[in-house]
């Protein structure tokens, strides 16, 4: 999957929201790419665009989304529909709202499977459904099939969602905050499972999250987003040990941990800009301590500063970084 120069605006009654401002990245085969940023930075808009699921008031001004030889933005919708759900699956944040409360788990799974296995009868499909549930390490798949979603815990519901997402043997899974709604001990279980499944099935995963701890544990590479653009892209080790973009540095410094006890916490001055009237040039420039005139004129492109480490900044801080 490769996303190139994606520009998306939303037209609302209050004006135009300049949501995505030239987003570009690649998800490599078999890797977990983290898409990280704060609320409203365009993480979810990007993922929706990738599946052609943007609402009607969205306007795609430019960009290409290449996946297995198709440009998903140029294809007809019925062609996209063949890829969506089959080759690319999604896992959303709140498992309870992804399941229909009035149907049993088994019925919902079989409904989906009917699309992928049109020639099999109900009996065969039941068997496949149980296999898929067992794959997500749900105990006693048979009895879970006859339960309603509310009879399952959050962790079990998310496993069912994963079974649905994997039932078509996709090559890419987009996971939008998959564990945010879960308790930490359950989150740890689900994460370990996601890792095992990814390795076993050779999946590529695009993990959308604001949880930097999660990124460090699960991702191979990370794309940091700010106000509609990717500002830095590198492997996990580099992002956490040698962040280059002033925003990435600010973000990492703001994470609260016990090690910082007694110190005043660092934070990024100012506020996330309104995307109705985004700042010109680099959208981070009003908050950036390293701002130079060029930052206000033209948006910086991602530049490779060292092998496989891309930064969009005209004035990369020269002093070394460490987490205070």
């Amino acid at each position: 999957m490769s996303v190139e120069d994606l520009v998306v605006n939303f037209h609302t009654v209050d004006g135009t929201v300049y949501a995505l401002n030239g987003v570009g990245f690649k998800v490599r085969k078999g890797e977990v790419l983290g898409l990280v940023g704060e609320t409203g930075c365009g993480k979810t808009a990007t993922s929706l665009a990738m599946l052609r699921l943007l609402p009607e008031n969205a306007e795609v001004l430019s960009g290409r989304i290449l996946f297995e030889g198709h440009d998903l933005l140029a294809e007809r919708l019925d062609e996209v529909a063949k890829i969506r759900g089959r080759r690319i699956s999604m896992i959303f944040q709140d498992p309870a709202s992804s399941l229909n409360p009035v149907f049993k788990i088994g019925a919902q799974l079989i409904d989906v499977l009917k699309i992928y296995y049109p020639n099999d009868d109900e009996k065969k499909l039941t068997k496949i459904a149980q296999e898929k549930l067992a794959m997500t390490e749900l105990p006693d798949a048979e009895s879970i099939m006859s339960l309603y979603p509310h009879e399952l815990s959050g962790g079990m519901q998310q496993r069912v969602i994963m079974a649905v997402a994997l039932s078509s043997s996709p090559s890419l899974v987009i996971a939008d905050e998959p564990t945010t709604a879960l308790d930490v001990t359950i989150q740890a279980q689900v994460l370990a499972l996601l890792k095992r499944l990814k390795d076993a099935l050779g999946l590529s995963v695009l993990l959308i999250t604001h949880n930097l701890g999660l990124v460090r544990e699960l991702c191979d590479r990370v794309a940091i987003m700010y106000a509609g653009s990717i500002v830095e892209l590198a492997d996990v080790q580099r992002i956490f040990q040698n962040p280059q973009h002033p925003y990435t540095r600010g973000l990492l410094s703001s994470v609260v941990t016990g090690r910082l006890r007694g110190q005043t916490l660092h934070y990024i001055a100012g506020m996330v800009p309104s995307l109705f009237k985004p700042p010109s040039g680099c959208r981070f420039n009003p908050r950036c301590p390293y701002v130079i005139p060029a930052c206000r004129d033209k948006r910086p492109e991602l530049v490779e500063v060292e092998p496989d480490h891309y930064v969009a900044c005209y004035n990369i801080p020269t002093e070394p970084w460490w987490r205070t």
């Binding site: 001990t185 701890g213 609260v256 934070y267």
Partner: protein
């Protein structure tokens, strides 16, 4: 000897489960089951646990927003469960709450000035002009300015709205501020600002905080003492360094291990992944409530006998059969 502000003794809060055609009590959810702990004046007391562990119910009982079934809550020496409505109103002045989502705690139809004025009009005889003056001072205290007095909450960012909630909570100079997930709905860099503010206010005004959260990073950063709850019971209580550097209860250990870390220490051990789900508080396991998931299960005693809180040091108690009294 430090002064105790809140002394909770053997507190039980049970919620009846009603069922059947002719509604009758079919059982109880034991949300808080025999909890004893104390909060000292001027300290930050962290209460951690997963959903359903009873931490919010405990705070609500402390405010008497739910009626406990038995036990005692001594607040500054007065037993909250024995006093009438009139004196309760007086005491409530001294305890204020800041909730998770500031936009749900603020009234979208009221300007900021009037929201901060509410506790002042309810509890004092200040004139309108005095109230405006006080509201302005409070906003300054939380890092906002007079221009925010006349705004509606939708005009504020999440961080600003939470600051207004904090200002309102401090309006009557309370003795205890209950912070229920105060930073959980905020973005990382805003979280840091709010925590800086909370810590600064606590030091400057000598406030006592009861901090309820599932964010262990926040607790480790700011709390002086910590209690870990599991299914309505205290699993372990101790100072922050005891809990975080040397957890005694297997649940505390697993909980700390489960959190994905931004800067892993080189000494980080292999992650402990607990089996199974959190049992329902309506039918908690027998014996030690954690035994169904415990990685250090030592035998029938865990299943059959409920462990009492055992004293490990002057500041630390743990409820686990691994430790003999």
């Amino acid at each position: 000897m430090t002064d105790t502000l809140v002394d909770i003794q053997n507190l039980k809060v049970y919620f009846p489960i009603r069922g059947g055609l002719i509604p009758r009590v079919a059982g109880y959810v034991k949300a808080v089951d025999d909890v004893t702990l104390n909060i000292d004046k001027g300290e930050v007391f962290g209460l951690v646990g997963e959903s359903g562990s009873g931490k919010t119910t405990l705070a609500r009982a402390l405010l008497r927003l739910v009626e406990p079934n038995s036990g005692h809550i001594l607040f500054d020496g007065v037993d909250l469960l024995k006093i009438g409505k009139g004196s309760l109103k007086h005491l409530r002045k001294d305890m204020q709450v800041v909730f998770q989502n500031p936009f749900l705690s603020l009234n979208p139809r009221m300007i900021v000035r009037n929201q901060i004025a509410e506790p002042l009009t309810a509890h004092t005889k200040m004139s309108e002009a005095e109230i405006t003056q006080r509201a302005s001072e409070l906003l300054k205290l939380v890092g906002l300015s007079d221009e925010h007095l006349w705004k509606y909450s939708i005009e504020l960012s999440g961080g600003q709205a939470q600051r207004v909630c904090i200002a309102r909570a401090l309006a009557l100079s309370p003795k205890l501020v209950i912070l229920d997930e105060p930073t959980s709905s905020l973005d990382v860099s805003v979280q840091a600002q709010i925590l800086n503010l909370l810590e600064d206010l606590q030091k400057r005004l000598g406030l006592t905080y009861l901090l309820i959260t599932h964010d262990l990073g926040v607790v480790e950063y700011i709390a002086d003492r910590v209690a870990v709850m599991y299914l309505g019971k205290i699993a372990e209580v101790g100072t922050f360094s005891e809990i975080f550097q040397d957890p005694a209860h297997p649940y505390t250990e697993a909980l700390l291990s489960a959190v994905p870390k931004v800067d892993p220490a080189p000494t980080d051990k292999a992650r402990i992944i607990l089996r199974g789900n959190i049992p329902s508080p309506a039918s908690p396991p027998t014996g030690c409530r954690f035994h169904t998931r415990c990685q250090k299960y030592i035998g029938d005693i865990c299943r059959d006998v409920e462990p009492n809180l055992t004293t490990l040091s002057a500041t630390r108690k743990v409820a686990c059969h691994l430790y003999k009294p």
